[in-house]
């Protein structure tokens, strides 16, 4: 199998991982909050996107925007009412809370919609194959690669070049100092949480074609999201980007040549990598 196909396949898989996990990295890095319910926001977004396309006939792009907005709004409500109370709590209590929240959300979705997985109907322009000249490849994978890269650039620009981005980076690096300089950290928290969850929602919708979409989604893929965040380094958008791509490509390649190894490779590679570089790709040493 030629190298380009392998690369494209791995990149596409990695992009989905990136889009869902980047929100988790930022919230965990900025807020220091262990939000294990992140996958649930992705799931909710996926459901909103699929349903609005199926029942209201929304176009794919419009559905993605709706998913982002709806879940971001929900995230703001939850953050102000519940999450904010646990900022001072121990990590363990945050784990307990967010796992409880996941159970509640899974149960609510199952009761409302049923346990069946949802089908995604891609618009015609995303289906089938595209001829790139040197290779014909699945259009949707190419679209994912493009979308992920654009998103990464947008986030990077946002964090590096805007004032709000600077404030967020400051708060991630040293919250106390940022507060004493007059940064409204509480507002930043809410905004970042909304952004992170909204991105997860978009990821849930975009990835539904590959990862599927059913009430068990939040728990099934939690490990992968956490791995991408840990390997990328907390709070580092570029870190999560490269980590997710690396995981995607390596997993893909190894599965072709050593199918017996199965999912072992991701875990083994993560293990070796984190032992060699505990702070992740771009994390601060000694963090």
């Amino acid at each position: 199998m030629d190298l380009v196909s392998i690369l494209l396949g791995g990149l596409a898989a990695g992009m989905v991982l990136f889009i869902v996990s980047v929100g988790l990295s930022v919230t965990m890095g900025l807020m220091g909050f262990v939000n294990l319910a992140h996958g649930a926001f992705a799931m909710l977004g996926g459901y909103v996107i699929v349903y609005s396309m199926r029942h209201w006939g929304l176009a794919f792009g419009a559905a993605l925007l709706l998913g982002f907005a709806a879940v971001a709004a929900l995230a703001v409500v939850l953050e102000r009412t519940l999450y904010a109370r646990l900022y001072r709590a121990t990590e363990l209590d945050q784990v307990l809370f967010t796992i409880g929240l996941v159970f509640v959300l899974i149960a609510l979705v199952t009761l409302a919609v049923g346990p069946e997985s949802q089908r995604v109907v891609l618009p015609a322009w995303l289906d089938g194959q595209t001829d790139l000249g040197f290779i014909k490849y699945r259009t949707y994978s190419l679209a994912l690669i493009a979308a992920g890269t654009l998103l990464m650039l947008a986030l990077w620009l946002g964090f590096e070049r805007t004032r709000i981005g600077a404030k967020i980076r400051a708060a991630v690096d040293n919250r106390r100092m940022a507060e004493s300089v007059g940064v409204d950290v509480g507002l930043l928290f809410t905004l970042t949480f909304a952004l992170g969850s909204g991105l997860a929602a978009v990821g849930g919708g975009l990835g539904a074609e590959i990862l599927g979409l059913d009430p068990q989604y939040p728990l099934r893929y939690l490990t992968y999201f956490l791995i991408a965040v840990a390997v990328g380094g907390l709070g580092r958008v570029t870190g999560v980007f490269f980590a997710a791509l690396l995981i995607g490509v390596l997993d893909f390649t190894l599965k072709i040549y050593f199918p017996k190894g199965g999912t072992m490779f991701i875990y083994a590679l993560t293990l070796v990598f984190l032992l060699a570089r505990p702070q992740g790709i771009f994390g601060k040493a000694g963090a």
Partner: protein, 401 residues
């Protein structure tokens, strides 16, 4: 004060049980995953049970049936075992049924042997499960039913010479591989590669595995993945890689064309050939009736699938036992009644419980997916009647007990 309340409660409970005994209530314990990854399947089997009760109100004669449901939660076997133990020790059920996952049935086998309670398996497909206890009978399938049949059909009907097998790396997958290989090579074909494709827990990206299969250029690519979302991924990858244009036919057991997932596969699935004991498009009066009633009860988009039918037939078996034994369930007599039981009115055609192995004997239908009026429909292209579980017939591996 509290003692008095307790006494009253106990008395009431006693009266209820006594009244129950008078009305000959048969208690059936149903162990299914109602939550967790198997919730979808549990729901299908549960609906099948309810459909049977609805469409055959006289099936149990004058006897009452009380269904006690327990959630088996996850496929670890431990929850199912605890549920079965309590159904036996606390709820005093007469018959146990359900069991989607093989570990659930395997873990419960010693319990039903010790307690002498008949266990009617409505899904769990590992071939040697029925050997684990004389109390176990199965109305669903073993991986060998479809796998072996497909292997033979691929060699004989499709005239394929070479095949690559892709399978999810866990016992039903390996069973399917062995079954297909036996059937295919027994009919003159050759399996050139067997590719394990990840575990049952998550749907992997099938692209690397399918690419490897494509490079081997076989006539036929036999794929087994667990029923559910894996199948949808299989179809999409097959199309995305252009394997049909490369002349590689995709075949598999009906697990990959489960009716509740079928329409999600889209046009990419047209031409897929499967062998299975049931699909919702089977043309017989019992099935037409079932599909119509199902849609009326559960919505126009709902559809019975092989798991739903297994729930249906399982209740038919239990009804037979209840009527034959006049509502008094004795384990040995129940097993005797089940052995050799024939049911001509099943939505999947005539079925029978093999008196030797207590496993199911049924037709395997060869089907091709076609598009009719914008919907995917299974077109029947062949029938293999009265297929037994070949694993136990040929005494392969662990089946040789």
């Amino acid at each position: 004060m509290k003692t008095k309340k307790l006494l009253t409660l106990a008395l009431a409970a006693g009266c209820f049980t006594a009244a129950g005994a008078l009305a000959q209530t048969v208690k059936v314990g149903v162990v299914l995953p109602f939550t967790g990854v198997g919730a979808e399947f549990g729901q299908q089997v549960d609906r099948g049970i309810q459909m049977f009760m609805k469409l055959n109100p006289g099936a149990f004669g004058p006897y009452q049936v009380q269904i006690v449901k327990r959630d088996s939660k996850n496929p670890s076997g431990a929850e199912a075992k605890t549920a079965v133990q309590e159904l036996i020790a606390q709820d005093n059920v007469d018959i146990l049924t359900g069991f989607i996952y093989s570990p659930d049935a395997i873990a419960s086998a010693p319990l039903v042997t010790a307690a002498k309670k008949p266990m009617v398996i409505m899904n769990a497909g590992t071939a040697w499960i029925t050997n684990l206890s004389p109390m176990i009978s199965r109305v669903s399938f073993s991986m060998w039913h479809a796998g072996h049949a497909m292997g033979e059909a691929a060699a004989k009907s499709l005239r394929a010479k070479t095949a690559v097998v892709g399978y999810t790396d866990y016992p039903p997958g390996k069973d399917s591989l062995d079954a297909f290989k036996r059937g295919f090579e027994g009919a003159g074909g050759k399996v050139v590669d067997a590719i394990p494709m990840g575990g049952p827990g998550q749907v992997p990206d099938f692209t690397p595995f399918f690419q490897r299969a494509k490079d081997k250029k076989p006539d036929v690519f036999f794929v087994f993945v667990p029923a559910g979302d894996h199948a949808v991924g299989v179809m999409k990858t097959y199309t995305a890689l252009g394997m049909r244009e490369a002349g590689i036919k995709l075949v598999g057991p009906g697990d990959i064309t489960q009716d509740i997932k079928l329409q999600a596969m889209g046009d990419s699935a047209v031409g897929l050939i499967t062998a299975h004991h049931y699909n919702a498009d089977l043309d017989n009066p019992a099935n037409k009736r079932l599909v119509a009633a199902w849609k009326q009860e559960y919505g126009a988009n709902a559809v019975p699938d092989f798991m739903g039918v297994q729930g249906y037939d399982g209740m038919a078996a239990i009804a037979h036992v209840v009527r034959t034994l006049n509502g008094r369930i004795d384990a040995d007599k129940a097993m005797a009644a089940l052995k050799g039981w024939k049911y001509a009115d099943s939505p999947r055609g005539p079925i029978m419980i093999d008196p030797q192995t207590r496993d199911i004997v049924m037709n395997e239908y060869l089907s091709e997916l076609v598009k009719v009026g914008g919907r995917l429909v299974q077109k029947n292209i062949g029938v293999i009647p009265a297929v037994k579980d070949m694993c136990k017939e040929l005494k392969e591996g662990k089946c040789a007990q």
